[in-house]
C-alpha cells in the first residue's frame, strides 16, 4: 500500500510541474503589458514612467524562465499573488468561490444520483423495452443539450411563467431557494451521463454466473437485482465520481454565470472580462491541482476496494 502510494505521488510531481508550466505559458503569451494593465484605472492610460517603474519592481522585464521560477516558488507556498482589480489575495478569492461551487456541485451530485441510479437500473432490467429506449433517448438528449440553454428553459418556466423560484442570485448565503434551479440544471446534465454508465454496469453484472445462481435458487427478481447485482454494479459508478465531478465543474462555469452564483466558474469568467490575470492563473492552477489530488484519492480508494490490484 505504501509503495503504491509513494509511486503514485512521485508520478504526480512531473505532471504538477507541467500543469504549472502550461498555466504560466498561457499567461506569458497574453498580448499587452501586464504593468500597463495593472495601472490603467478609470482615469485613463497610466503615466509611462510609472509603468516602467512597476515593470522593474514586479520583474516583468526579466526573462520568462526567471519569472516562471519566481511565480512557481511563490505558488508552491500558496501565494498566488493579488487580484489586479480588487487587490485581494487570489488564494482567498479562489477558496471562497470554490466553497460556493462545492455546495452547488454536491447538491447536483445528489440530484443526478437520485435520477440516474433508478433510471439506469430500470433500463438494464427492462433492456430494449420501450422504457429503456425512452430513458436512453432522454439521456442522449441530456448530453446534447447546452446547459446554459437548459438553465434558461428552467428560468423561463419556473422563475418567469410560474414565478415560484428566484431567477438568479445567491440569497443570504446560498439558501436552498436560490440553489434549486442551478443544482437541477447541473444535476440533469450529469444524470444523463451517469444513467448510461449505470445501465451498462448493471447489464454487465446481470450477465454473470452468480446472478444466474441467485435466480436458480428461486429468489424474486427484485431481490436479485437490488441485493445481489446492485452493490457490484454501483462500485464502478461510484469510483467514477471523480469523472462526474469534473463534468459538474465544467458545467458550473457557464451555469454559475447564468444564475449569478458566486462560484469559481463565475470568478474565472469575470476575471477574464476584467483581464485580471493573476486570478485566471490562480483559479486554473488551483483547479488542476485539486483535480490531480482528487484523482489520487480515487486511485487509492479503488486500490483499497479492489484486492486484485494489490499484487
Amino acid at each position: 500500500m505504501l509503495a503504491f502510494l509513494i509511486r503514485r505521488i512521485l508520478l504526480l510531481l512531473p505532471v504538477l510541474f507541467l500543469v504549472s508550466a502550461i498555466s504560466f505559458t498561457l499567461f506569458y503569451l497574453a498580448p499587452g503589458d501586464p504593468a500597463e494593465l495593472l495601472l490603467t484605472g478609470p482615469q485613463g492610460p497610466p503615466d509611462p514612467a510609472a509603468v516602467q517603474e512597476l515593470r522593474q519592481k514586479a520583474g516583468f522585464d526579466d526573462p520568462p524562465q526567471i519569472q516562471y521560477i519566481r511565480w512557481l516558488n511563490k505558488a508552491i507556498r500558496g501565494d498566488l499573488g493579488y487580484s489586479f482589480i480588487t487587490g485581494d489575495k487570489v488564494l482567498d478569492d479562489v477558496r471562497d468561490s470554490f466553497r460556493s461551487t462545492l455546495k452547488l456541485a454536491l447538491a447536483s451530485l445528489v440530484i443526478s444520483f437520485l435520477i440516474s441510479i433508478p433510471l439506469g437500473i430500470l433500463s438494464a432490467v427492462k433492456r430494449n423495452s420501450a422504457i429503456d429506449n425512452l430513458a436512453m433517448t432522454l439521456s442522449l438528449l441530456g448530453v446534447s443539450v447546452p446547459n446554459f440553454w437548459l438553465a434558461y428553459l428552467l428560468i423561463i418556466f419556473f422563475a418567469i411563467q410560474l414565478d415560484v423560484l428566484p431567477v438568479a442570485g445567491y440569497g443570504e448565503s446560498g439558501d436552498l431557494e436560490h440553489m434549486v434551479l442551478p443544482a437541477v440544471t447541473l444535476g440533469l446534465s450529469a444524470a444523463a451521463v451517469t444513467s448510461r454508465m449505470m445501465r451498462s454496469c448493471m447489464l454487465e453484472v446481470l450477465s454473470q454466473d452468480y446472478i444466474l445462481a441467485a435466480r436458480a435458487k428461486g429468489l424474486p427478481n427484485w431481490s436479485v437485482v437490488l441485493k445481489h447485482a446492485l452493490p457490484n454494479a454501483l462500485l464502478p459508478v461510484i469510483t467514477v465520481m471523480g469523472l462526474n465531478f469534473t463534468y459538474l465543474l465544467n458545467g458550473s462555469a457557464v451555469v454559475e454565470t447564468v444564475f449569478a452564483w458566486p462560484g469559481i466558474g463565475n470568478l474565472m469568467i469575470h476575471s477574464i472580462y476584467d483581464r485580471d490575470y493573476p486570478v485566471i492563473m490562480g483559479s486554473l492552477l488551483f483547479l488542476a491541482t485539486l483535480f490531480l489530488i482528487l484523482n489520487l484519492l480515487i486511485d487509492v480508494f479503488y486500490y483499497y476496494l479492489n484486492p486484485r490490484m494489490r499484487d
Binding site: 502550461i22 457557464v254 472580462y273 485566471i280
Partner: protein
C-alpha cells in the same frame, strides 16, 4: 430509425450551410428597429431579435460557423493526437513517457476552464476560440491512438513488415493507420458535437465569436436581457444547437457499433 434521423439532420445542416443565401427568408445582418422583438409571422418565421433581425436567417447562417468550428477543431485535434499518440505508442520509452505526462497535465485541467483561460489570456475571436478548443480536445485522440498501437505491439504482421525491411514510417502509414482511423472517426464524429457545444458555450459568454456575426451561442447571449419580454429569442437557437449535437452523437454511436459491434461500453466524455 434514430440513425436515419441523425444522418438526415446532418445532411440537412450541410445543405442549409451551403445554400444559406437561398434558404434564408431575410438578410441575417439587416437590422430593422421598427420590427424589433417580433413574434413569429409570415415575413419572419421565427420572429426577430432586439435589433429587428430575422432569427431564422441568423440561425441558418449560424450553421456555417458551427460546422466550420466543429469540423476544424476536430480535424486539427485528431491530426495532432494521431501524430503524438502514434509517436508515443510506436517508439515507447522516454518519448512515450514524456508525451503521456504532457497529456496527463492537459487532462488535469477541467476542460472548459482550460479553454476559458486560454481565451482569457489570448483574447476572444474565432481563431483563439478554435485554438483553445484544440488545446482541450487533442489529448483524447492521443490517448486513443496510443492505446490502439500498444494493443498491436508484437503482432506478427507488423514483425513481418519490419523483417522485410519496411521503415517505421511505412509501417505506420500502411499497417497501423488503417486500424487506427476507424476508431478515430468514431471519436471525431462525437467530437464535432462536443466542439459545437463548447464553442457555443464560449460564444454565449461573449468570449468566442463576436457579434454581429450570426452564431448560435452569441445569439443566445444577445437574448439574455430580453428573456422575460421575448423568451423565443433564447429558445430557437438552443433548439438548433441541441438537434445538431444530438445528430452527431447518434451518428457517432452508430459508427461505434459498426467499428466494434460488441461495444455496449459507457460513453466517454
Amino acid at each position: 430509425m434514430r440513425t436515419w434521423i441523425a444522418f438526415l439532420i446532418i445532411a440537412g445542416l450541410i445543405l442549409a450551410a451551403i445554400f444559406a443565401e437561398q434558404l434564408s427568408p431575410n438578410d441575417p445582418d439587416t437590422a430593422n428597429l421598427s420590427q424589433r422583438l417580433k413574434a413569429p409571422c409570415w415575413d419572419y418565421p421565427l420572429g426577430t431579435d432586439h435589433l429587428g433581425r430575422c432569427i431564422l436567417s441568423r440561425i441558418i447562417f449560424g450553421i456555417r460557423m458551427s460546422l466550420f468550428i466543429g469540423g476544424s477543431v476536430v480535424l486539427f485535434s485528431a491530426i495532432l493526437g494521431i501524430i503524438l499518440g502514434s509517436a508515443a505508442g510506436y517508439f515507447g520509452g522516454i518519448l512515450d513517457e514524456a508525451i503521456m505526462r504532457v497529456v496527463d497535465a492537459f487532462l488535469a485541467f477541467p476542460s472548459i476552464f482550460l479553454a476559458l483561460a486560454a481565451i482569457g489570456f489570448l483574447g476572444s475571436g474565432m481563431i483563439n476560440l478554435m485554438l483553445s478548443l484544440i488545446l482541450v480536445e487533442w489529448t483524447g485522440y492521443a490517448r486513443l491512438v496510443r492505446s490502439i498501437i500498444l494493443s498491436l505491439r508484437g503482432k506478427e504482421f507488423l514483425e513481418a513488415a519490419a523483417s522485410l525491411g519496411a521503415s517505421d514510417f511505412y509501417i505506420m502509414r500502411r499497417h497501423i493507420l488503417p486500424i487506427v482511423l476507424p476508431q478515430v472517426l468514431v471519436m471525431a464524429t462525437l467530437g464535432i458535437g462536443y466542439a459545437i457545444l463548447d464553442s457555443t458555450s464560449l460564444s454565449f459568454l461573449g468570449l468566442g465569436i463576436q457579434p454581429p456575426t450570426p452564431e448560435w451561442g452569441s445569439m443566445m447571449n444577445d437574448a439574455r436581457p430580453f428573456v422575460r419580454a421575448d423568451p423565443l429569442m433564447m429558445i430557437f437557437p438552443g433548439i438548433a444547437i441541441t438537434s445538431s449535437v444530438l445528430a452527431f452523437n447518434l451518428a457517432g454511436e452508430w459508427l461505434r457499433e459498426q467499428v466494434d459491434p460488441r461495444s455496449d461500453a459507457p460513453q466517454e466524455i
